[in-house]
Symmetry: C2
Subunit: 246 residues, 2 copies
């Protein structure tokens, strides 16, 4: 299971590249397979499927691995953050194949770090990552997590803030966060980080425009200490409360 | 500001490598500078200092950048996760140098993803990252965050679980988590991920041995759904509650 990072080949580490070079089969969501260079895909079996076909992909990968083939399942970002690594391990377990299949996870740069790097340094202090997708998680639990994270002053990273079907959940999430934070709290919105047409902007919590957000967006809401410094979003760790600038 | 990833050069992306190659000055904590190859350090000014000298390093870097030099400040993992990116931006701001200094953050693989990859897939669902260091954060706030994250069933990543001075905080953190989780909840302990003598183990929440933990360790406590599958720690996203395995 290999994480491709945000998409820019310059952010792909050698370990991931070598796994892609060495394997016989590449399995992934069509968009993510499209991030891989044609040279790497050449002379391999490539199985790409659309959204919500995660289980099909995992089963196809495990079946081929059980036949002795060297298979890479790709995810964007890190393979272990809201991605395919867990589902593949679950399939290997349910099929009772841990003795036959050697599993390995190659970490990548997760979307939250890619987004944060374009915004500045919003994740310098404790943070919570929450997916707003209620496809597999009850919305009540998502709200409970938003409430808990906002109440304990975590920086909050929102994955999957919107889809074609789900359009109002970001506003509901920001309302919950807004009950615990000043309206001036910086919120970062990053679309297509490190891909063509990327955009990154920092605004105020009470002025977020849901139209700036789509399926490829990561939103980061600051904690009570997060500031906008120049064009950057920064959560201080508190050095300047303890030490003086010389 | 460049994140070196966990330490293995095979997990360093080209963008970080190019920044290190091109720069004139490298600034970093001694241990992290030691992760950089001698070839890359050759013919450069290298400023490395010990622990707790973060502010000195940031100031030295900003002063040199203000003189027009190309400076890289290195962190391990991702430069923006409990690392140097924020402090450097704060220094540039306090010195009023945003017009003179062009800042850029190159993301890296954070320690939490490196640790997760060695354990399996513990971060497949919402997670909270909490540093147990009370050097710059009141312990009361750390406890409040532990309580909130455990109560809302987040997977919990613990950074800085121990230091020479702080030896009892991990036990206190696990006690708080244990009030909300079964004693059989999987906990992963990863030391020196992707460096020589790495170790990764999965155990039960009620059986964690604080002696297995040191300053270079990341601990991950599962949520109520996290399981041990084979030798792996996996947090299911819930596909098998909705779909059937063919």
């Amino acid at each position: 299971m290999v994480g491709l990072g945000p998409g820019d080949p310059a952010l792909l580490a050698t370990m991931a590249l070598e796994a892609l070079r060495a394997c016989e089969v590449i399995v992934g969501y069509t968009t993510y397979v499209g991030l891989i260079s044609k040279e790497l895909l050449a002379c391999k079996e490539v199985l790409s499927t659309g959204m919500r076909r995660e289980l099909d992909r995992a089963v196809a990968a495990v079946d081929r691995a059980a036949q002795g083939r060297d298979v890479v399942v790709v995810s964007s970002g890190d393979a272990g953050v809201y991605a395919m690594a867990g589902l593949v391990l679950e399939c290997v377990d349910r099929k009772g194949l841990f003795a036959e299949i050697e599993c390995r996870i190659v970490p990548g740069i997760p979307a939250l770090c890619a987004a944060a790097a374009l915004l500045g340094a919003p994740l310098m202090h404790d943070f919570a990552s929450i997916s707003l997708s209620d496809l597999l998680t009850p919305w009540e639990l998502i709200e409970q997590r938003l409430e808990a994270a906002a109440g304990a002053d975590f920086v909050i990273v929102l994955y999957n803030p919107k889809s074609r079907r789900r359009t109002d959940q970001l506003a509901r999430a920001l309302t919950i966060i807004g009950r615990h934070r000043d309206g001036s709290t910086p919120v970062g919105i990053v679309r297509r980080a490190y891909r063509p047409d990327q955009s990154a902007m920092v605004g105020r919590l009470d002025e977020v425009n849901p139209d700036d957000v789509d399926m490829t967006t990561i939103c980061l809401a600051g904690n009570s200490r997060t500031e906008q410094l120049g064009e950057w979003m920064v959560t201080p760790r508190g050095y300047f409360e303890k030490y003086e600038l010389k």
